[in-house]
């Protein structure tokens, strides 16, 4: 009966049922073990998120008391936070909206060799990443990593013992982004900040584990921060999608490429050292190359045009951050009608073309937009923008810098999808 209960919530979730079913089977196996602690869990189990904590998150592949004590609390937290998340790994991950309002550093990743995206492999990768991070931090200590020892100790606590700054690293699928049609999966890397003290004795370790568990029970989100997002957000072209533009998620796409996974865009937000370590781990595990993704002025201009057209409610003032003050005087200026006209035309084209084909906006409207912008600026300040290099653009949707920094503002997942789509397109282009 307990497995039945668990089955119904998992079937209610649409896209993650594939992940949820192995989870529920492991949970069924764990069913007899601590029955007493699970009765409060059953009472609150009508929510679909009950399947998630019942199937015990990956970080604690534990069956001990500390783990089960946090299941009801985690159930409450998960139930409050999400409606469609049923995979336990995804319980760690914030939704796609959390991608916004953060400055991401963009990298381009060459195709990953032999990367599996099922839950088992993701757990393996999580452990491997944790081990790598811990090992690099503790060069002075012996590199005995307890992460490989999964008996009775959660990897989070062992990792917390070894490192001063890293808790557990988790790799899992990001929810929310899957909802866009035709978009393959995205992976997120979450690093949990550890407790402050680094104990040295066995007793201290137990205390450590309990403390970690308590902290996790208090609230999963404040502890862990979303470190990196690795994905391929390109949408399949509506008409005649070629193999090159296909999704990278399914590995068995081409005969040649069946060992490779294409996840070209990597967004990282962390310290440079940690970034370097994570990229190094990626390179060594999957035999790929992680390089900076720089945006040439051509692409920046294109992005500025596309994303200023997306905010229908914004006026011309929001379209160019530099001209924000100038736009106030635009009403009196005779060149501003050209700018407003170009903007309106692009917006109209956007609206009638529909969101899916927004990437197919005509080049000449983009040129007209830039030309109007330059003329407007020249008439106000006498500076020819065309003689200067475009290094940073700011629209209402996103700020992008030429050195590869991106900051999204929009909370709308469709808009975020558009932005990520464009970035992935750029990341997967082959440049010299």
């Amino acid at each position: 009966m307990s497995s039945q209960e668990r089955a119904t919530p998992s079937s209610s979730s649409s896209s993650h049922s594939r992940i949820a079913t192995p989870r529920s089977s492991t949970a069924a196996r764990q069913a007899p073990f601590p029955t007493t602690s699970r009765s409060p869990h059953h009472s609150s189990s009508s929510t679909p998120a009950a399947a998630a904590p019942a199937a015990s998150p990956a970080a604690s592949s534990n069956i001990n008391a500390t783990g089960s004590a946090r299941r009801p609390a985690a159930a409450a937290a998960a139930a409050a936070a999400s409606t469609a998340q049923s995979s336990p790994i995804e319980e760690h991950f914030p939704r796609v909206q959390s991608l916004s309002n953060k400055t991401w550093h963009a990298f381009r990743v060459s195709p990953l060799y032999r990367m599996q995206t099922d839950a088992q492999s993701l757990r393996l990768y999580s452990r491997s990443l944790t081990a790598a991070l811990v090992a690099r931090r503790d060069r002075s200590h012996a590199a005995l990593i307890d992460a490989s020892n999964s008996n009775g100790s959660s990897s989070s606590s062992t990792a917390a013992n070894g490192s001063a700054e890293i808790g557990a690293a988790n790799i899992g699928l990001l929810p929310g982004i899957d909802r866009l049609p035709g978009v393959p999966r995205a992976l997120g890397i979450v690093v949990a900040a550890p407790p402050r003290a680094v104990p040295s004795s066995l007793r201290g370790r137990q205390l450590q584990a309990e403390e970690t568990a308590k902290q996790k029970a208090a609230g999963a989100a404040p502890e862990s921060r979303l470190l990196a997002v690795l994905g391929n957000f390109r949408r399949a072209r509506p008409a005649g999608s070629d193999a090159a533009g296909g999704n990278g998620g399914t590995v068995q796409d081409d005969a040649d490429n069946k060992d490779f996974t294409f996840l070209p865009l990597l967004l990282v937000k962390s310290t440079p050292q940690l970034t370097q370590e994570v990229c190094g781990w990626l390179e060594s595990t999957f035999d790929c190359k992680v390089t900076h993704l720089a945006f040439p002025p051509v692409e920046l201009a294109w992005m500025a045009f596309m994303w200023s057209a997306q905010n229908v409610s914004y006026t011309a003032a929001a379209a160019a951050a530099a001209a924000a003050a100038a736009a106030a005087a635009a009403a009196a200026n005779e060149s501003s009608p050209a700018l407003c006209d170009a903007l309106n035309r692009s917006k109209a084209a956007q609206r009638e073309a529909g969101d899916a084909s927004s990437m197919f906006l005509a080049v000449d409207t983009s040129q007209a937009f830039m030309k109007a912008l330059e003329e407007h600026f020249f008439s106000i300040s006498g500076i020819r923008l065309s003689a200067l290099q475009l290094t940073r653009i700011g629209t209402g949707t996103a700020y992008v810098g030429a050195e590869g920094r991106v900051k999204l503002f929009s909370q709308n997942p469709v808009v975020i999808g558009n932005v990520l789509n464009q970035l992935s397109e750029l990341a997967s282009l082959e440049k010299v």
């Binding site: 002025p297 294109w302 923008l385 003689a387 475009l390």
Partner: protein, 189 residues
């Protein structure tokens, strides 16, 4: 005032050299190309004189009468500067149509700086479609490329000036197109 081809007589020097005009904004690489052209003139068997200008039309003040007849015009384009494209478009319109048949070409510099590329390829395609000029791309830092481009320009200039026997730019252009159409016909049959 447009740059006319036939309003001046050819230079009466003993050397009978051709005059090449380089048109482009500041920083596009005219001096570098000029030095490369001068270095290659021996091998190309053509004595040349090079003039540089930032924007057309040429000023009609004092030195206008002593200017030689321009035989070949090279429009230069900087891939990292959008301004150069705008100036190029306006410059092409200032040039007599006689120049656009085999007596000019477009050279794009700074092509290796992809991370600073400011010009869309579509715009250049439009330009080429409109004017059908030979389009050469060069990374000016590379010596070999410089020499190669200089050779090509001088070859075109030789035909333009008339130093190549029985060859005019119009014939060359006609032959190019004839080659293309003949291959198409062969494919059909």
């Amino acid at each position: 005032m447009t740059l006319l081809l036939y309003d001046k007589l050819p230079t009466q020097n003993l050397q009978q050299h051709a005059t090449i005009l380089l048109v482009g904004t500041h920083g596009v690489g005219k001096s570098t190309l000029a030095h490369a052209l001068l270095a290659e003139q021996e091998r190309a068997n053509l004595a040349i004189q090079i003039r540089k200008v930032v924007a057309l039309p040429l000023p009609t003040s004092g030195s206008a009468s002593t200017r030689p007849k321009i035989d070949f015009v090279v429009f230069m384009l900087d891939m990292t500067s959008k301004l150069s494209l705008d100036l190029l478009k306006s410059a092409i319109q200032q040039v007599d149509i006689e120049y656009l048949i085999g007596k000019s070409c477009i050279v794009a510099t700074h092509v290796d700086m992809l991370h600073l590329a400011s010009i869309e390829v579509d715009e250049i395609d439009q330009l080429l479609l409109t004017y059908e000029l030979p389009f050469l791309q060069i990374n000016q830092l590379n010596e070999q490329q410089r020499a190669g481009i200089a050779q090509r320009i001088l070859r075109q200039a030789r035909v333009a000036v008339g130093r190549a026997n029985h060859m005019t730019p119009a014939i060359v252009a006609a032959m190019e197109r004839a080659l293309v159409t003949s291959t198409l016909i062969n494919d059909d049959s």
